[in-house]
Symmetry: C2
Subunit: 212 residues, 2 copies
Amino acid sequence: MVNRSISKQTLLRLPLYLNYLKQFGENQPEHISATTISEALRLNHVVVRKDLASVSSAGKPKIGYNTKDLIAQLEAFLGYNEMDDAIIVGAGKLGKALLTYKGFHECGINIVAAFDTDESLYEEDLGGKRILPMEKLMDLCVRMGVRIGIIAVPAENAQAICNLLVESGILAIWNFAPVHLEVPDGVLVHNENLAASLALLSKQLRAGRKTP
Amino acid sequence: MVNRSISKQTLLRLPLYLNYLKQFGENQPEHISATTISEALRLNHVVVRKDLASVSSAGKPKIGYNTKDLIAQLEAFLGYNEMDDAIIVGAGKLGKALLTYKGFHECGINIVAAFDTDESLYEEDLGGKRILPMEKLMDLCVRMGVRIGIIAVPAENAQAICNLLVESGILAIWNFAPVHLEVPDGVLVHNENLAASLALLSKQLRAGRKTP
């Protein structure tokens, strides 16, 4: 039995292990050790060992994990086998990029549609994905029981869209607008501040250059 | 004197405080306390107090921080006043979204150009930003001393692009391809796995619903 209550830091590292394990293609080794993974990803081997132990109890001393099994266990643990529907609000460049992004499906996320006020977008065919009028948002979310909403509108509109999503029954919001959102208790918000992420990388780079 | 060696977790929270402080517009209060910020952002007040103390020593008991000063101190600490150049490789939907994203500039990042192999993109004008042929990448990076590269190409091409960036003198890579990159020592990689982030939100939502 593995431990189901693990830290957010571990949850963020598990997809890294999964990506690493899936990249071998035909050269996939039958077994792989926590040490090999930690060296490839430049992580502390104690951390990797502990992370993997929280999703699989099948690691053997000196042999490691069966690679195929470990991939399956990571995917199951991360919920990539259960599909969840999500909608996007805002079909500008970012909204369209998210709408047509191929990687969500294998992570168990089905992007149902995007919504926008710009009528000229409604006829666009984006790989089978549709951009719909805002008026249809609430009805679609309620009818399909959609619980995840992605905000890809300018900062000044984000709070109004957030309120609409909450009214439509959305319980988890992925917010790309660089603004703080007020939500009722019980609604999750994950802020994806792309500019701040990049600035952090630039800051780390500068800090590294200053160190002799 | 404030402490300059702070945790990555703190560095990730500082932009949240900054966004919150900047959203008041004309209603900006003269002073603001760590408690007010922690309640608005639903964070532990001890954590917020400690984070703010690491960028400013000007907080006063019962009064809090001068809001304007705190904004300036956060911006200075996060390096938003020093400009860093960056380039993007891959001008698909995501690459274009990043190329035209308005938020980078105020975080101290100047996106110089994007590069792509698709000739049909070279004539596009994206708000003054250009898409250039791959052959020009190394020369531009060396000439301008660009140190930050953003990878927005499909997973199967990401390692080859990463190698080219490293050869061109890039020292920090922001990787949107859901794949593990091998880099020499001294090169920073920040993986932005959008699908995994969204899947994590969906997992948290499911975990929350199971709890009574």
